[in-house]
Amino acid sequence: MRHVISVLLENEAGALSRVVGLFSARGYNIETLTVAPTEDPTLSRMTIVTSGSDDVIEQITKHLNRLVEVVKVVDLTEAPHIERELMLIKVRAVGKEREEMKRMVDIFRGHIVDVTDKSYTVELTGDKGKLDAFIEALDRACILETVRTGSCGVGRGERVLKI
């Protein structure tokens, strides 16, 4: 099962490597990982997308909590939540492809953020499925490069991860 785990941790040098080291040392998966400081610059918020059986996920959250720099851990997938990922994708756009590509970006509610006579750079936000679908919808040959941030997530409604 895929899980989205949110971690609030001290914004200190080395904290990220403790988390990553934990996953590699114990053989847990990381599908994506994003991290950035929060509105309180002493804290970072991390979103880890991982997969594993319930037992493995339980161990992951316990071990994350055990890290001295980790303040709070929440498994967002336990309740309704929102996930978003940002993708920048550079595509070939020449001749009549340009119009077609523009339409496609509009359908997916993306933005073209850079234009040359041969290419577009598209900014697209959404959950993993939407970004995957956009890539699927394109002809592979026209994709020049893809860069994705990995998911970040937040609980719906009143659920708040804060100290």
Binding site: L9, E10, A13, G14, S17, R18, G21, A25, D55, E58, Q59, K62, H63, N65, R66, V68, E69, V70, V71, I163
Partner: protein, 573 residues
């Protein structure tokens, strides 16, 4: 008051009440050593290898329940120390390891004796710090001690660049409680869960108490003993938990696991309620977890570390908290429950009868000999000669298992060995740490001719500080445990398990300024031990004991097998 970083280090250690620091100097810690030279608050013990410094600090902590302190230099000083740190980490021993680092301006430049200490040690410490500003130094050291000794204890490393030790800042002795928003260990157990555990225990027909190193670390042996006696239940202690319950008590069924007793393993498998206290169901204790889960039983697990619970076996009643605290609550609930409802005194009769039948297998019986020295016999004699009162350290291998099986530990913190990491070479430095706490106590190192050579340079340290452990080297000219596995699982192909070109240990001990003895007949064992522990009480004695070459450790549960799939002797092969 303005102090240099080095002065702050020394002040901080003194403020923590540190009396002994085990270490080895080098370039990046010279300012710190210069301050150590000028003070008399604590004593520095100069080892001969950084690994031994950490092991000695580790044993110091194991027997005293204080935080052990080691001090080493950057680069190779740290890499040498890593084995010691990892050993302490696996057994949850509170240590503060101070390491020198190249100056902050040189970090990342591949400077002389530079190593990424924080990176190298990250997976084997509870936490580590790199101090980048002298203003943070005092608070960091204080946090290190706090983190090391609270919660599930463990080693904490503080990496201090050389320029920080010479930089100055205003120093005010830190006071008040340490508060960290990201670190607040649980102490108190959940009362509802504790009540559930009491109910399970009172209803059980085949209860069993299984305890590990957590009982020793929490100083909860008195509570455990009271609990076992109040309930009249069988109790087993793991390798790390020996001494948590008196080894001579009739409720004690011996150690469980790979080389545990028949009765302990059978009881672990066939009980209907298992209460695990400060133990972690590791592979050497329960064998194959699938096989272990085949028998239905309710499991109560008391541990300070939530991640130890339901890690290898599913637990029915998890109780997170300090073992001592939880046991005190559990005893209180149990007392009031017993007042309300008297238990049928016959409730456990069938269970004890069954345990008696298992005991009749006499799984620790071995073939005695008047001539050839059986290693088990040496341990039994050591027990007699020291009246079971010695501090016993061991290395890793067959001798370690025999020590655990035959030296019946009645008190906690008397048995010091590397249970989790299984580090050969700990025995002698462990004895040094023990003797720094108890200079007049009997200390025995049970070792083999393989293990002892892994830190034999420490004979020199022992001479310098007049340390007088008695080294019982069970010399079978084999790496015995490796040879045993090769005999059983690798068609008796003894690949590289033969110890050739051994030194003359008697002469070697003498060369280091100690007493050496060679014992070759069973008849001489007791006399030699008495001589070592009385005539040479104040000297280190190296007893090179030539034992039966091919004796094996029984019983044995082969790796990956179920707990009850025991080999009781060579006839089972």
């Amino acid at each position: 008051m303005e102090l240099t970083g080095a002065e702050i280090v020394v002040r901080s250690l003194a403020d923590e009440g540190v009396e002994h620091v085990f270490g080895y100097p080098g370039g990046s810690v010279l300012y710190i050593y210069d301050e150590i030279f000028k003070q008399d608050k604590f004593k520095h013990i100069l080892v001969r290898h950084e690994q031994a410094a950490v092991h000695a600090a580790d044993a110091y902590s194991r027997v005293s329940n204080r935080v052990g302190v080691a001090l080493v230099t950057s680069g190779p000083g740290v890499t040498n120390a890593v084995t010691g740190i990892a050993t302490a980490y696996m057994d949850s021993i509170p240590l503060v390891v101070l390491t020198g680092q190249v100056p902050t301006t040189a970090i990342g430049q591949d400077a002389f004796q530079e190593a990424d200490t924080v990176g190298i040690t990250r997976p084997c410490v509870k936490h580590n710090f790199l101090v980048k500003d002298v203003k943070d130094l005092a608070e960091t050291i204080r946090k290190a001690f706090y983190i090391a000794r609270t919660g599930r204890p463990g080693p904490v490393l503080v990496d201090i660049p050389k320029d920080i030790t010479v930089a100055r800042c205003k120093y005010t002795p830190p006071t008040g409680e340490i508060k960290m928003r990201s670190y607040s260990p649980v102490v108190k157990g959940h009362q509802g869960q504790i009540k559930k555990a009491v109910q399970l225990l009172l209803q059980a027909e085949r209860p069993m108490i299984y305890t590990g190193g957590g009982v020793i670390l929490a100083d909860a042996a008195p509570e455990l003993t009271k609990l076992v006696h109040m309930l009249d239940v069988p109790c087993t202690n793991t390798l790390m938990g020996l001494g948590g319950f008196p080894g001579e008590d009739e409720h004690f069924v011996g150690m469980p696991g790979m080389h545990g007793t028949y009765e302990a393993n059978m009881a672990m498998q066939h009980c209907d309620v298992l209460v695990a206290i400060g133990a972690r169901f590791d592979d050497r204790v329960i064998g194959n977890p699938k096989h272990f889960a085949q028998n239905a039983r309710k499991i109560v697990h008391i541990d300070i570390d939530p991640s130890s619970i339901s890690k290898r076996v599913k637990v029915d009643v998890p109780i997170v908290g300090d073992v001592k605290d939880v046991l005190q609550d559990l005893l209180a609930h149990l007392e009031s429950a017993l007042k309300e409802n008297r238990r049928d005194p016959q409730q456990l009769a069938a269970w004890w009868k069954q345990i008696g039948a298992w005991r009749e297998r006499q799984c620790l019986k071995y073939k005695r000999s008047d001539d050839v020295i059986k290693p088990q016999f040496v341990i039994e004699k050591l027990w007699e000669v020291t009246r079971g009162e010695a501090f016993v350290t061991s290395d890793v291998g067959q001798h370690q298992m025999w020590a655990a099986q035959y030296y019946r530990f009645n008190k906690p913190r008397r048995w010091v060995n590397s249970g989790g990491l299984g580090t050969m070479g700990v025995g002698l430095p462990y004895a040094m740490g023990v003797q720094m706490v108890y200079p007049d106590a009997d200390v025995a190192v049970i070792t083999g001719e393989g293990s002892i050579q892994m830190n034999i340079q420490e004979l020199s340290t022992c001479h310098q500080y007049h340390l007088s452990p008695k080294i019982l080297c069970l010399n079978n000219r084999y790496l015995g445990m490796v040879r045993q596995w090769q005999q059983i699982d690798y068609g008796s192909r003894y690949a590289e398990s033969y110890m050739d070109s051994l030194p003359d240990f008697v002469k070697l001990a003498e060369a280091y300024g100690h007493v050496g003895m060679r014992i070759e007949s069973a008849r001489d064992v007791e006399g030699a031990l008495r001589e070592a522990f009385t005539t040479h009480k104040k000297r280190l004695v190296f007893l090179d004991i030539i034992t039966d070459r091919t004796e094996n450790v029984w019983p044995m549960v082969k790796a990956g097998k179920g707990l009850t799939e025991m080999l009781l002797g060579s006839e089972d092969l």
